[in-house]
């Protein structure tokens, strides 16, 4: 991994990083990836899927959920007329 890879990941993850932080992460990633690379040597059945998961559905019925709208809206960083206000997208 190189510094530009760290920059690309930070861009994808929407996190600003200082030069010092980038260097630190690069060093950490080298040791973490060296550790997790151990799984590359494990033989697995490539024809099989991963986890044995299945969907768990519930009936699509209206139900009352206990939550406080006031607590949600009072925490908006910016609001107008009770609506969340964000910067323009286009």
């Amino acid at each position: 991994m190189e510094i530009r890879d760290v920059e690309k990941l930070a861009e994808l993850a929407r996190i600003d990083l200082t030069e010092e932080e980038k260097q630190g992460l690069l060093k950490d990633f080298d040791s973490i990836l060296a550790y997790v690379d151990a799984i590359k040597s494990v033989k697995v059945d490539e024809t099989k899927g991963g986890e044995s998961l299945y969907n768990s559905w519930r009936e699509d019925e209206p139900a009352v959920r206990d939550f406080s709208l006031d607590i949600i809206t009072e925490q908006f960083p910016d609001a107008k007329d009770g609506f969340l206000k964000v910067k323009k997208i286009l």
Binding site: I15, L17, I32, S52
Partner: protein
């Protein structure tokens, strides 16, 4: 004067039932201890103002005969469990002032039962770490030696219990986050079967692994909490329906259950000799108590932590994308939306959270997905199957809980991999979704706690409690 040191949930319940003391008096006694110790130990981030009014409600329950075993029990909850109207920050600056808009079902059960929720306990930011040093609000100290860490990520809950700052505490586990601090603080910690307790209202880290997990001063206390909180929840799609629980439990029950498998190959060469000696002594005691001890091989288990450090960051990078400074939490202004995201997330997240978000982004990115994430979920399936195979032969898998003794504050902060290794023996149970319990097994000559870990098949928490209580008698 209430004998807090020797109090258990059952003793407290009996005493309140008989009127020897009230819930208010008990709560006041704990609040007094917290007042004296919390500055030093830093187990709690906040004591809730309504603790005493909850205690008064509990006293009403004792008066009108509706009290249950948890009524009036002073309880600490980890800072990632939602309690309506109260701050829940997940140990992070990005949620420093975030107020829960609803209560997690596990909290609702506690409140219905009349438990007294004293406050929220410290944790590593977003439950990432093994020492509680990654909390944005400062580390928790180990009550047995305040120069050492309490383990993590539920270090606040473990330390609060060990320092008698609560009678019961709740944490969460993704990989060892209850068992490892239980080991470091000398208390009991149970990681239940995945899907046993509702994850709804828990600030998610790794969804396929997260599980609400009780602590206890003794096995019986952890059992009481588990029995109250283990319920199907329709709001959590991974919560297992009651009939399926019964079916799985029946399938996993044998006539005679006294065979303990020890995967010596996982740790015989490089374990701390002091921990090894204590573990061997525990195994001898179990043998004398009538358990049959056999050597087992779990060839894939040694890859557990590597698999975990691929799957978990992948899930973290997805989960933590919701914290963007827009709807709630830390907000840093910028010239456009993108700059708001980048600045809010840069300043809101600590170093370990950023590390895992980027690592997760990497293992899920084009060109690396197959080599890392896809491979990891296949190896995970092997680990799970291997564990299920093992349980055809043995009833318990037993190892030391942690490869280390509680270490000094700051000792592992500069070396992420060394910190990750704290959870080496915990990872297989989390990946396989099976229940596992950490139980104190003595002290070093310096007074630091040892711990032993028992793991059982899915939904066999009952067998863990049984062997755990037996071990408490013989240790």
């Amino acid at each position: 004067m209430i004998d807090i040191k020797n109090l258990t949930i059952e003793k407290a319940h009996e005493a309140m039932k008989k009127g020897e003391f009230t819930s208010r008096e008990l709560t006041l006694a704990y609040l007094e201890i917290i007042k004296n110790k919390n500055l030093e130990i830093h187990a709690y981030l906040e004591i809730f103002e309504d603790a005493l009014s909850q205690a008064d409600e509990a006293d009403k329950k004792f008066k009108n005969g509706t009290a249950t075993i948890l009524t009036g029990i002073p309880t600490g909850i980890k800072d990632n469990i939602l309690f309506k109207g109260h701050i829940v920050s997940a140990g992070s600056k990005i949620l420093k002032n975030y107020k829960a808009s609803y209560s997690a079902p596990v909290v609702k059960i506690l409140l219905e039962q009349g438990a007294v929720i004293l406050g929220r306990t410290n944790m590593d930011e977003f439950a990432m770490g093994s020492s509680t040093e990654y909390s944005a609000f400062g580390p928790t100290k180990n009550p047995h030696d305040i120069t050492r860490v309490p383990g993590g990520t539920s270090g606040g809950s473990a330390a609060a219990l060990a320092a008698n700052m609560a009678l019961s505490t709740i944490g969460t586990e993704t990989c060892g986050s209850v068992r490892e601090p239980a080991a470091f603080c000398g208390v009991v910690g149970l990681k239940p079967t995945y899907g046993a307790l509702s994850r709804h209202g828990i600030i998610a880290m790794g969804n396929s692994l997260d599980q609400v997990s009780p602590f206890g001063k003794c096995v019986r206390d952890a059992e009481i909490l588990f029995n109250c909180l283990s319920k199907h929840d329709s709001e959590d799609a991974t919560s297992i329906p009651e009939e399926l629980r019964t079916k799985i439990k029946t399938e996993n029950t044998k006539k005679k259950e006294n065979k303990i498998g020890v995967p010596w190959h996982l740790f015989k060469d490089d374990l701390n000799p002091v921990i090894m000696e204590n573990f061997k002594q525990s195994i001898e005691k179990l043998k004398k108590a009538g358990y049959e001890i056999v050597d087992i091989e779990l060839p894939h288990a040694k890859y557990s932590l590597a698999v975990y450090y691929i799957i978990m960051p992948a899930e973290v990078s997805t989960n933590l994308s919701r914290f963007d400074g827009i709807r709630y939490g830390y907000h840093s202004d910028g010239k456009d939306l993108l700059e708001v995201y980048k600045k809010s997330r840069a300043k809101g997240f600590g170093a370990e959270a950023r590390r895992r978000i980027l690592l997760g982004t990497y293992v899920l990115s084009h060109g690396y997905y197959d080599a890392y994430y896809n491979k990891a979920i296949k190896v995970r399936e092997n680990i799970k199957q291997e564990m299920q195979e093992a349980f055809k032969e043995v009833d318990f898998v037993v190892t030391p809980t942690a490869p280390f003794l509680p270490f000094k504050l700051g000792e592992k902060l500069d070396d992420p991999v060394s910190m990750y290794l704290c959870d080496l023996f915990n990872a297989p149970a989390n990946l396989a979704g099976v229940p596992s319990i950490a139980i104190p097994s003595g002290f070093t000559s310096e007074g630091l706690p040892f711990s032993i870990q028992f793991t059982a098949p899915h939904f066999r928490e009952d067998s863990l409690f049984e062997v755990g209580k037996k071990f408490e008698e013989i240790k």
